[in-house]
């Protein structure tokens, strides 16, 4: 008889009154130990963060390692911005959270502004370079308290380049903006995804793209865009068919979606230009129109510019 009761589960409290009382006792004990365990966890995290506070605040690589480490624990320092919260007290205010939330705002704005041009997909390095060129109106208090005085001097002395040296105590800051690492941007995007705008990162070939529209993009789309990477951002239907060995329908469908979303632009003139130069008309018809991907094209442009500077 007793076994049957036990099998039904003491915790559910459906046993007789004796077990009911026992169930409540157990509930109380487990609640108590849960609270204690949480406190223990808080202590450990506090100790760790106190020791490495400076590094975490100033070095984006350490910061992203720290966030990465918290993830499998199910702990998210950036979940909420409560002022008297655990993390706020640990890092001396809302410095870190403000940094990421502001970055999220900026990334959203950059993506929105470029959407009409690239359809809502752009490379991570492109977003990064646009962010670095924007002037910031308000300085995040990410770094130690000494930055408060230097940040106000930044506002007043935007023209004087020499003041840079005083402010370079805080590694990330430059004259007009703050340095954002790729990991920082990725963290900001992961936070934005909860807002329902479709913000996410996808891998296209060898690079990482930021998507800011809720359109569903599958592997076919990614692959076609990846194929355009070595070709300077453009590709034609026959080329896609040749390199993927898919049937024409599948290629066309993927290209059509990208076109309708504004992520690809079609260049019909390509055909007529080659018609003029060559005599054989059969060849041109097979060539077909060219599909341009502004996001890929832009990215290749930046890459080439970077390489040029290194050589020259």
């Amino acid at each position: 008889q007793e076994m049957a009761h036990r099998r039904r589960g003491v915790g559910i409290g459906r046993g007789g009154p004796k077990f009911q009382k026992k169930a409540e006792e157990l509930k109380a004990v487990s609640l108590q130990s849960a609270l204690e365990t949480v406190e223990k966890l808080e202590l450990k995290l506090t100790e760790f963060a106190r020791q490495h506070k400076a590094e975490i605040q100033q070095d984006p690589a350490v910061r992203s390692r720290f966030l990465q480490m918290c993830a499998p624990l199910g702990v998210d320092p950036l979940l909420s911005s409560k002022q008297q919260g655990f993390w706020a007290n640990l890092f001396g205010g809302t410095g870190i959270t403000d940094y990421y939330y502001e970055l999220a705002v900026k990334v959203a704005e950059v993506c929105l502004a470029a959407r009409s041009r690239n359809g809502g997909i752009m490379s991570l390095p492109e977003v990064q370079s646009i962010l670095h060129q924007r002037p910031t109106k308000f300085q995040p208090k990410l770094l130690s308290d000494t930055s408060n005085s230097s940040s106000s001097s930044i506002k007043n002395s935007n023209k004087a380049k020499n003041k840079n040296n005083k402010n370079n105590k805080n590694r990330g800051e430059k004259k007009n903006g703050v340095y954002y690492s790729q990991e920082d941007i990725k963290t900001a995007i992961s936070k934005l995804s909860g807002l329902g705008g479709g913000f996410r990162t996808v891998r296209v070939g060898e690079s990482i793209m930021i998507v800011s529209v809720p359109t569903e993009l599958d592997n076919d789309h990614m692959e076609i865009m990846a194929l355009a990477q070595p070709k300077g951002g453009s590709i034609s239907l026959p080329q896609v068919q040749e390199e993927t060995q898919w049937d024409a329908d599948r290629c066309q469908r993927a290209l059509d979606l990208l076109l309708s979303q504004g992520m690809a632009w079609i260049d019909h003139n390509h055909q007529s230009r080659t018609k003029a130069s060559s005599s054989s008309s059969v060849e041109e018809e097979e060539e077909g129109s060219l599909y341009w991907f502004p996001s890929i094209w832009k990215e290749q442009l930046e890459k080439d510019k970077g390489e040029e500077q290194e050589q020259g």
Binding site: I12, H52, T94, V105, L195
Partner: protein, 303 residues
């Protein structure tokens, strides 16, 4: 720690004095030695020198690019140096914390299970403790089914009220609907410091309807989330679009977005919504998708 060392060619022998802590000591020394070997700290000085050599060659960029690359290099260098100490502590923390987290999750799930099945036999102290646990967990950023239920904590409800006050004039000017992303951006921009997180916004917004603040969240089938004035009427908007379509022959996302001064994402959602209600019919071509007034109802009369 009582230890003596003897070195032979290619071997280092460590002898621990036989006392009560010998076994533990041996393990500890092994661990620490292994860590040092892994990190190769004796190499770090030479690696640094190497890096400096490389940097001298590559430094050709000018202007903003130079500053950017210098910063990036500096970060990389510093990261390598601090990495060692940080990684060690991180490892320890991860190990110890994972155990604790497992325990916490277990208790949280039994608690949540109890909450689901119990009726009113929980004493006041228990619910108070449960709430406390909930608070502590969400304070640290731990989410579980337990914390998710508390979508309207005091902080978030207050935030909801601030939000609605802030949004009311802007929402009206924008036509009654705004995407959540837009709300996040303009609210934080206006706030300036102590910004709110996207998760905070989502939680606050979910209690808007309950608090009867004149606006509420709405999620479209595509996943797009917006805040919509209570006064906004889907039906009205659909009829308006249908009239426009009849007057102009057909309408598209772009021209609606321009005419009504709303973002294209919203325009698309309104058009799709009107289509779902049967006011519009779409015609998709390579160029664009056009919406025509739905005249199928008229046709059926002629049967």
């Amino acid at each position: 720690l009582q230890l003596s060392t003897y070195s032979f060619p290619a071997t280092l022998l460590l002898c621990f004095k036989k006392n009560s802590t010998a076994l533990k000591d041996r393990e500890e020394v092994q661990k620490v030695l292994q860590k040092s070997l892994d990190r190769r700290e004796w190499e770090s000085a030479s690696r640094l020198a190497e890096q400096q050599q490389m940097e001298k060659k590559v430094n050709r960029k000018v202007g903003v690019d130079a500053i950017l690359s210098k910063n990036a290099m500096r970060h990389k260098k510093a990261a390598k140096l601090t990495d060692a100490a940080f990684e060690g502590d991180a490892e320890t923390l991860l190990r110890e914390a994972t155990e604790l987290v497992k325990i916490i999750k277990k208790y949280a799930s039994t608690l949540e299970h109890q909450q689901q099945t119990s009726t009113d036999d929980s004493t006041n102290k228990e619910t108070a403790d449960a709430i406390k646990l909930n608070e502590m967990m969400s304070d640290m950023g731990m989410t579980s089914a337990l914390t998710k239920k508390g979508g309207g904590s005091e902080y978030h409800q207050l935030l909801a009220r601030h939000l609605s006050d802030f949004l009311r004039p802007r929402l009206q000017k924008a036509g009654g609907v705004m995407t959540l992303t837009d709300v996040y951006c303009i609210y934080n921009r206006a706030r300036g410091t102590n910004l709110i997180s996207p998760d905070d916004l989502v939680k606050a917004v979910s209690s808007l309807m309950k608090l009867k603040l004149g606006m509420s969240e709405r999620v479209f089938p595509s996943g797009v989330r917006v805040i919509q004035e209570d006064a906004f009427d889907d039906q009205q908007m659909a009829e308006r679009l249908a009239t426009k379509a009849t007057d102009e022959g057909h309408i598209t996302v772009l021209n609606i977005s321009k005419d009504l001064h709303i973002p294209s994402l919203l325009a698309q959602e309104q058009l799709l919504s009107a289509e779902r209600m049967g006011y519009l019919c779409r015609d998709t071509t390579l160029e664009t998708t056009r919406f025509f007034p739905n005249r199928f109802n008229e046709f059926s009369l002629f049967v």
